[in-house]
Amino acid sequence: MTGADRAAGVGVSAAAAMALLTAVTLALGATARTSGAEETAVPRLKAVEVPRPSNESDEAVLSRPLALALDENDLFMADGQDCAVKVFSREGRFVRAFGRKGKGPGELSFPSGVAVAGRTVLVADKLNSRIQAFDREGRPAGAFPTPFLPDRVYALADDVILVTGNPSGKRKGEPLLHIFDAAGRLRWEGLAASSSGDPVYDAFRNMILVCPAGGGDFYVVFRSGGRTVLRFASTGALLGRITVDGRHRSRPLDLPFKGRKKRLLGFCWAAACDPGLLYLSAPAPVDGKDLGPGREISVIDGEGRMRAVIALGRAVHRFVVEGDRIFAIDDEGELRIFEVAR
């Protein structure tokens, strides 16, 4: 090899090294930018409201809708004030209502939860302390008592009914979750309520939202507190904890609770599941320093990562999601149907 060749070789090596260095630098920069982008930018989707047919019947008016459940045909809504379950088509057309105030079979007192299990509609008949079953036409089909005031009811599987209850605030460690079989036999109860000695503060700390995750599993989301979502099996076994992405915004709220200053961290106003995804609506500021229902829904995957944000045109209190459709109760207690534009 001549000196000229060596010089040329060195020159080529130096040029190659420079090129490699430049490529690595560019690649690293690109990676940094990419990961930064993954960390901050979340697709922002808009939900467009779907017009509903007008409902002429007085029964179609919702007085205090507390819960909603969807099946392949209809949307069922528990109306606490009217002591009835109101059924709408998926397009929002009123179909029928069943139940009336009372204590007898088919009668309800402040129904606060509804679920559909095959051909049966389960209703959390709160002030009658029972879970009542109806057929799809609204005929009573049995009931079982609960030793607490049932709040929400979920059909996790054919023979597995999950019922939540708000703690009374008078005893320590009251269970928030209760699993019954279809005959009303208690199979499991757990998730002890936290107790600090301040019943009002504890009431907020123990506010939970539940959504079935499929396959009998279910998620429990605390409305205030940390960013942890719990996943349970239909047996009551705790399967895991998911830490939700920091991009889902929590909002602190100072309330004048008794004793030393305590701060609430508003994490979620309402929650719903669609296979594989968790939809959490973040609380939003209202009337200055207060927190109320929000207009945005965070889409969270099974690992807690935020996949998208859905912007709704209005604040919603409760909702269920199926595919691109969101069925929600707005601030005025009206049913709203949204379609997510992708």
Binding site: R64, N166, F204, L253, P256, L264, G266, V286, D287, R318
Partner: protein
């Protein structure tokens, strides 16, 4: 004189307590107080109102419960 004043004060406190507890509701009424308190809280939860309002209403439920238990 000071001792007499303390004794009078203690007597007053005990008398007031006796008067209050003699008017306290019986077991059935206590059960009704508990029931009403639970229902009050559930109605508040059902409102799903902003949290400051919920806090005020829950406090009102607790005050009503306290009054009920004291038979006031």
């Amino acid at each position: 004189m000071k001792k007499l004043a303390v004794l009078a004060l203690v007597g007053l406190v005990l008398g007031a307590a006796a008067l209050t507890f003699s008017m306290a509701p019986d077991v059935n009424e206590q059960s009704l107080c508990n029931r009403n308190h639970a229902e009050c809280r559930e109605y508040v939860f059902g409102l799903d109102d902003p949290w400051y309002k919920v806090m005020v209403l829950l406090t009102a439920c607790d005050i009503a419960f306290g009054k009920c238990m004291l038979g006031l």
